[in-house]
Amino acid sequence: MTARTVLQQADINRALTRIAHEILESAKGGSDLVLLGIPTRGVVLAERLAAILRGIEPGLPVDVVGALDVTMYRDDLAHHPTRTPQPTSIPASGIDGRTVVLVDDVLYSGRTIRAALDAIGDLGRPCAVRLAVLVDRGHRELPIRADFVGKNLPSSTSERINVRLLETDGVEEVSIES
């Protein structure tokens, strides 16, 4: 088992800064944005994106970040050990009529995002839903694609992509284990 680092802290910061600009460009400003991170690391990334966005766009709403747990909407609950749900928190102003940006660390089969879209449907009706991921590793099983990608990492299904962030893991890197 060998691990190879593909993104270091500075790379991750640069990718997030670029994604923040792309989000603002596509949404034509930040006034109706909501960033929903998918636990655990998606929430950390959403908070970091919000911090960067505030630096660029001072008019950003105060409560722009939320967490969206998708455990209860998954289609594979019967095939894995029981998962423990994580808290969901939605900004008090809700998501109706706003542009929701889903944030996750790795985009793989697309099933997590499918579950997230169902979860959003139960919470309200955004005017648009976008997807931002730090790493897209391919192997989609559903017709889902990301709007904002930090790094495309073509990988084999036998490899493991590890995203480690300071807030959750104490170190900051993206590595491939094979």
Binding site: Y73, P81, T82, P87, D104, R160
Partner: protein, 323 residues
């Protein structure tokens, strides 16, 4: 967790996990759309050999909020002997295709028999068996206490140092037993108060303080006072002279309620008999959690159904593969 048969079998970590999942379930019950698709295509059978309205509709609401199909099977009046009938019933349910069975039975241990029998391959949840246990009631009581005491910071917390006084018919009460084991596991202190006739003879072996005088117990300024229902159907067995005397000695009257600190909670598993074990002043005060207990019951039962009906022991994926 495959089955939930008792709170005695729960470790501290398992109990806190159930309560934490219940927090998430409770959050979803505040939304406009309360239904989750989690148990879509699964069938939950409510198998009630004993009368129950509250527990059954609470389980039914919990299963329906998780999108499971619910079949209510009221087996009241069945005269077939316990072992045989349970086996036949279980095999019938297996043939129908039940994924989860919620069972209430007058015989202590019936859920454990069903879970260990091999007659049916379904998660079994004990909804009250004889005078043994009623684990989801204890879990919802603990959940309610934790939320009132720790507020938004409840997740991951236990009930360390909380003093709970449980008053009433201890001898017949599976709620009292389930609460005792769970509260002790979560670090709380438990005091039972009852007339000697309503305490089990083996109470000395339980990890609880026993008192016969309610005023003495309330003088210790407990954090929680839980009143149990005096079951009128048992009055004729002469456990105490008459209801008025019971009420005077062991009822939570307005005067007794006034002696408690403002932070003390009053709980009741319901249905309560006002004027007998509990006064209007206590039951209707802002420190009464009686209706919260009902609402929390649905969230806790959703958590228990979720944990017992999803997941496969064999599969073992890594987090990255899931993403």
């Amino acid at each position: 967790m495959r089955h939930l048969l008792s709170t005695k079998q729960l470790s501290r970590e398992e109990a806190i996990r159930i309560l934490d999942v219940a927090e998430d379930m409770s959050d979803t019950q505040q939304r406009a759309v309360k239904k989750l698709p989690t148990l879509r295509g699964k069938t939950v059978v409510n198998l009630f050999f004993e009368d129950s309205t509250r527990t059954r509709i609470s389980f039914e609401a919990a299963a329906k909020r998780l999108s499971a199909d619910v079949i209510n099977f009221a087996a009241k009046g069945s005269s077939v002997s316990k072992g045989e009938s349970l086996k036949d019933t279980a095999q019938t349910l297996a043939a129908i295709g039940a994924d989860g069975v919620v069972i209430r039975h007058s015989a202590s241990g019936a859920p454990a028999v069903l879970a260990g029998s091999g007659w049916i391959d379904a998660g079994v949840v004990n909804a009250g068996d004889g005078t043994h246990e009623h684990p989801t009631q204890a879990l919802l009581d603990a959940f309610t206490m934790r939320r009132r005491l720790h507020g938004a910071g409840s997740r991951g917390r236990d009930l360390d140092g909380v003093h709970v006084v449980i008053v009433g018919d201890i001898v017949h009460s599976r709620v009292a037993r389930s609460n005792l084991w769970l509260l002790r596991t979560l670090g709380a202190e438990v005091t039972f108060v009852a007339p000697p006739t309503l305490l089990p003879s083996a109470v000395g072996a339980w990890p609880a303080t026993v008192r016969y005088d309610l005023d003495e117990a309330l003088a210790e300024q407990p954090d929680v006072v839980m009143m149990l229902r005096i079951q009128s159907e048992r009055m004729h067995e002469a456990f105490f002279p008459n209801p008025r005397e019971y009420s005077r000695q062991w009822g939570l009257s307005a005067e007794r309620w006034a002696t408690l600190p403002g932070s003390a909670l009053v709980m009741h598993p319901g249905p309560m008999i006002r004027g007998l074990e509990i006064s209007d002043e206590a039951a209707d005060s802002s420190q009464s959690t009686i209706l919260e207990q009902v609402a929390n019951g649905v969230a806790v039962r959703m958590a228990v159904l979720f944990l017992s009906m999803t997941g496969s022991e064999a599969a073992n994926p890594t987090e990255t593969e899931i993403a």
